[in-house]
Symmetry: D2
């Protein structure tokens, strides 16, 4: 069970929309005209300038929607703390959890003893869940006994400004492995969909050239390309 | 000088994305599969149910971007109070206001005396602005003398949930004429772009069948089609 | 283990601040003068008018902060979906979960078989968590095996507008029992702290006199006082 | 006519609330106990650590409310673009603008010619406004002719996190003089109300030790004390 992220949809002409909106602020032309006049070179140099100066508000005009499976409720509880985003999540009140899936952390997978203990416990939690359902307990109450790592599914929409912020925090090596892997897959997808908008983003060590963590990882990223390889 | 609104871009397959995200909450399938299985009939009946029950959060996953010209700073000052939206506006600090345009309210246009007084005053305000620039005052300071009705340009992005809220308030006949005309043009555009999502929206008198205003207009809308005709 | 909510702090003179801010919109006086002139009768009649007309934005100027214990991560995952609020939550990454507490739903408490199954499973989950820690698995990874109902602690701040919205949804009998009990305790506390602001709030059946749920509970509240008794 | 800002109200024990909420995340104690145990030294060292690491979310739990007079609608149009805040503003639709006040930029005040031109134009704008009212034009339409610099009044609430962000941008010398003066007065007031929370804040050149503006002012602030003197 590993995270699986799909880019469900996104604003067409994303980079051009951002550049036209930004240009409007400093121009006597209208946005529709600016939009039509922009070519790729102009877009790129303009986005670079915006990004460097931190004037990120035009990045809000374009939005990206992801369908995520194979993620734990541990990770979605962290994820939904990002409030400038929209979420639709599979309900444990209404949907019976029949897949018996629980996300297993890599450190547990790679430890024979831990793995065996973990798998046994996951199975017993699901047995208990099903037992509770069978004696008349509702799904919404029985789920209290499910492991926190139980698989869930979620649809996420974020605009490009929030994505830049999300990546700067969650691609960081001090971020938890699962939300970091989510961020990495999201980054790979949006970078392919709109390279102009996202090749400028990344974790703080890349974008700001410095780390603000109290306990730095000691091994900052060298470049954005390293992001793209698992 | 009248408001001119263009729909610059919007999320493709908007109604389908909303329906798939909403269905995910109550289904054991993933969002990408749900997205592929949905046909138009299912989408419509599902959106209707969401709208009736007020579970509007899935409407946040799709977003619409508008380019607006011929609008006053009176109206944009009201507009940007809608905080769940994104804006990029022509700057009076950086752009010289050379068009000498000021939005004239219909009640003034339709009153010969008022119109003549208004036009004269607008011209004198612009003369003053230009005079101030000519003696070395900066644009950002000279603009204090420009009429509040001076024309501006703005790019607006709102998701479909916020649009429903915006329409419920701003299509109301108690809303100011200018922001109401902006709302009407936006409504016409999104209703054409995604009829499934927006034929359910409108002012409170239509959507909720009742008026909550302290001083009702006394002439509630009969149906949404009347919205579509100026 | 039951929910325990304390009102940690809140804006002083809350009702007066809301009334003064609202009056400013329609007055030629300044807010500080309006604030000083308001007496209790004026405040009450003014708040009532605001609430009836749905002009709730002045309610945003005052804010309430709660310290919550004895709540499950099931409930906090729901809670933090309310995005117009601020949260600080005990971290399972950094804090060892030594209390071995898990919230037990009343329906399970009241069912002898279910209760015994549940308690045994909770104990075995904690044994597993401790075993994993003892063989070198980190807290952040071991917690995947903890029950979703494990106890957590959280500080919540909401302004009075968001509280009214929160109560309208979460005091509803169709809301899950745990977040409903959280809402009830929060309601009791703020109603005592600022009766003028909150005696107008409550679930939809009380405030709007109608239910919008797809599946209504069939037993709407009669009055707000019933809220105040557990 | 100069900006006049009053601190109307704010969360009691602000620094202690922030510190207790932050400590909760890393502690096995509850927030109410942590709140009671904190002394001033612990609060200060803890806030410093939070600020340095950029973990600013606990600063959201406390909020400050300001009553502002003598500010132009030019400045409030900028101000209300800060969306993570609450505003109540004097309405030009409902309140007759009888004060005939318009904010005069310092650069115009200090230029005899400009000042004379400006004052004459302001007077003629108000004459026109009154004339339009006298022939039956409503306040909401007549105001289109008022100068953009016309005085307005506004109540502002921001939490301490947003205030830190607001100060970092608006105390910058590249920010417009009027909103900068608003920010300065707000800063002086909150720094007096809660020195522990705000002595760590300020413009980017102070807080981050570097300027991100495309066109830097060339004269960065030396220390925060210079902020406190007009």
């Amino acid at each position: 069970m590993t995270i699986d992220v799909k880019l469900l949809t996104f604003t067409p002409d994303a980079a051009k929309v951002v550049a036209a909106a930004a240009k409007l602020c400093y121009s006597s032309s209208g946005a529709a005209d600016l939009f039509n006049e922009l070519d790729n070179n102009k877009i790129e140099s303009f986005l670079k300038k915006l990004n460097e100066s931190g004037h990120m508000s035009p990045f809000e005009h374009v939005s990206f929607t992801f369908a995520v499976e194979g993620i734990s409720r541990v990770a979605t509880h962290q994820l939904v703390r990002h409030r400038l985003a929209s979420y639709s999540q599979q309900s444990q009140r209404y949907v019976e959890m029949s897949s018996r899936e629980c996300i297993m952390p890599p450190a547990i997978q790679n430890n024979t003893d831990a793995k065996s203990i973990f798998k046994k416990q996951v199975a017993s939690a699901w047995d208990c869940y099903e037992k509770l359902l069978s004696i008349g307990i509702t799904k919404e109450d029985a789920r209290f006994i499910l492991p926190h790592g139980a698989e869930t599914r979620i649809v996420i929409s974020m605009n490009a400004r929030e994505l830049h912020h999300f990546f700067s925090i969650r691609l960081c090596k001090r971020s938890q492995w699962e939300i970091r892997e989510l961020a990495r897959q999201m980054y790979v997808l949006v970078r392919e969909a709109s390279p102009e908008l996202f090749k400028l983003g990344g974790p703080s060590c890349i974008v700001y050239g410095q780390c603000k963590e109290v306990h730095p990882c000691g091994d900052p990223y060298k470049d954005m390309e390293s992001m793209l390889i698992k």
